[in-house]
């Protein structure tokens, strides 16, 4: 039996010491104007300014934060390329000289396929773009009608260590967070535009209950940081419930934004917690990815 041999992308230096590092994280749960990218950009810049005043290192915006969510036939009119000379990304890239940003937008590829996307901006550059893999097209959702699905799941290096981005339905499937974990991501950054639903006698909606539970579970299962930024506001009859969260590698909740209201929720990620938790609970060490690969091959070859 071969053991997992995943390259470790963390912050171990040659002496084997982990750098002391903390990230001041800002979770920006905003309401958006449907299809008005310029207006939404201005709100981003305003929240970035507030975050900077609070000494944030990283600001995470929700899914489709620059465009709004139920875009339907607006999709081709709101697409932007995350490049220097794009009028929407130019000020965001400039802002990323001071602090790192995760923003939600519609990306368009040369074949004119449109993707629900998250971009990680840092130091004036685009470090990574994630295209949403899983497009819910059932119930109240119709994403597959308007968008192409992404086809890669990659962790990437930032000045804080290795990070993975996922968007909403991506983490309703267990495999994307799992793959990011194997790819060395210590911080899983999730963004959503989650419509609130499932009102019953409890004090939170079923949709909020589920997302919070699954986020906490991933933090536990992967002994990693899991942060989530979810939008607020309304689009027609849909409400978006906010409630941004961050969980540490022990699954402890270290941030919780308010429900239904715009907010900038601050917390600190103590990256040394990764080492402490994983020393106690070596799930990463013991993970048998080749066994998973072998069994997946068997299952898929049936």
């Amino acid at each position: 039996m071969r053991l997992l041999a995943v390259e470790y992308h963390g912050r171990l230096n040659f002496s084997g010491k982990i750098q002391t590092m903390q990230i001041n994280l800002a979770l920006a749960q905003i309401a958006t104007k449907l299809g008005d990218v310029q207006c939404n950009l201005e709100k981003h810049l305003d929240f970035i300014k507030q975050a900077k005043a609070q000494k944030a290192d990283l600001v995470v915006f929700p899914e489709l934060s620059l465009t709004g969510y139920v875009l339907q036939d607006l999709v081709p009119t709101v697409a932007h390329k995350p490049v220097d000379d794009d009028p929407i990304f130019q000020p965001l890239l400039k802002a990323s000289q001071n602090l790192d940003l995760v923003v939600g937008f519609v990306d368009e590829d040369p074949g004119h396929r449109f993707y629900i996307s998250s971009a990680y901006l840092s130091g004036g550059r685009v470090l990574h773009v994630h295209h949403k893999i899983y497009l819910p097209t059932y119930g109240l959702f119709d994403e597959g009608r308007f968008f192409a699905h992404g086809d890669s799941i990659r962790a990437f290096d930032t000045r804080f260590g290795r990070v993975g981005l996922l968007i909403c339905e991506d983490f309703w499937h267990a495999s994307p967070p799992y793959l990011l974990w194997l790819d060395g991501a210590d911080i899983l950054i999730f963004s959503s535009a989650s419509p609130g639903r499932g009102l019953n006698a409890h004090d939170k909606l079923e949709s909020a209950w589920w997302v919070e539970n699954v986020n906490q579970s991933y933090a536990n299962l992967f002994s990693s940081f899991v942060v989530h930024s979810n939008r607020v506001g309304f689009e027609d009859g849909l409400n978006f419930w906010g409630g941004a969260t961050a969980y540490d590698p022990n699954g402890e909740r270290i941030a919780h934004g308010p429900y239904f209201e715009e907010a900038l929720t601050m917390t600190t990620l103590d990256l040394n917690q990764l080492r402490r938790t994983r020393s106690r609970l070596p799930l990463m060490r013991d993970e048998r990815a080749y066994l998973v690969q072998r069994e997946l091959n068997r299952i898929l070859s049936k």
Partner: protein
């Protein structure tokens, strides 16, 4: 089988008042207008509108017909006094009588529909004067059963109650301090003397809400519902009503001819650009 339709009323209030505030203000309005019948549903819509935009921005309309129950008018007045909203009273008798006189054989239900639509005309007319959006009062039970007049009591710009069953609206009414006699009285459209919803429908809201909850929210089949303890004839009756009234829950279908047609492939939310 224990079917629990209880809701967290704090959460419902927050979402529904937020919905009204957002959807009124984003299109450039700041006011709401509501036909206040004196019954439960419009009382709750009115209270939510007050939470959303403030009492000074809510206009309640009392629109009696000559045979309307005096209680209806009085109960509406209680709410006006309690919530301190503006109020206008417009009797619809003179609007509808000329039409009734043209056809002395007109049935009760036809007369009821005419009255409901006359009230809609006043609602929309006053909305223009008051620069307000008309707020709906239809609940999920009556929408699903089609127990409503198209372009009448169904007509509104925004409907905060359409995803709450009648028994859930009652829970919300208690949380919003709606006077107890309004909560307790038998629901009625008050279109003719002695009319009650449950008398006309032939079953109670308590019964039908539980069944609809299983059929719609929980996706039970007819057979699943019968196995859960509901009488087959009752289930068939309700399912039939829901199916036959589907047209009431839709905009009229446009016959498709072109490559891009309203209702099929011209897809934008109401909130487009707002």
């Amino acid at each position: 089988m224990n079917i629990d339709l209880s809701i967290n009323t704090d959460l419902a209030r927050k979402i529904l008042a937020g919905f009204l505030k957002s959807e009124i203000t984003r299109v450039g309005y700041s006011r709401a207008v509501i036909n206040l019948s004196g019954g439960l549903d419009s009382a709750v819509s009115c209270a939510l509108a007050v939470e959303a935009v403030g009492a000074e921005n809510v206009l309640a309309l009392r629109l009696p017909y000559k045979t309307s129950s005096p209680d209806s008018l009085e109960h509406a007045q209680w709410l006006v006094d309690q919530f301190k909203v503006r109020c206008e009273t417009v009797e619809i008798t003179d609007m509808v009588e000329p039409l009734f006189r043209l056809d002395p054989e007109m049935s009760k239900s036809r007369r009821g529909n005419v009255m409901a639509r006359a009230r809609m005309i006043v609602l929309y007319d006053r909305s223009e004067v008051f620069k307000a959006l008309p707020i709906g009062t239809s609940n999920k039970t009556e929408i699903l059963l089609g127990y409503t007049t198209m372009w009448g009591d169904m007509a509104s710009a925004l409907n905060p109650l359409g995803d709450l069953y009648k028994t859930q609206v009652r829970q919300l009414a208690r949380a919003l301090n709606i006077p107890q006699p309004i909560i307790d009285k038998p629901p009625s459209a008050d279109l003719w003397a002695g009319q009650t919803d449950e008398g006309e429908l032939g079953f109670t809201y308590d019964e039908v809400d539980k069944l609809l909850y299983l059929l719609v929210d929980k996706r039970y089949t007819v057979q699943d519902c019968i196995e859960a303890g509901f009488d087959k004839a009752f289930v068939d009756k309700v399912v039939g009503r829901v199916q036959r009234s589907q047209f009431k829950r839709m905009m009229p279908p446009v016959a498709k001819l072109s490559n891009r047609t309203v209702g099929y492939d011209f897809l934008y939310l109401r909130d487009w650009g707002t």
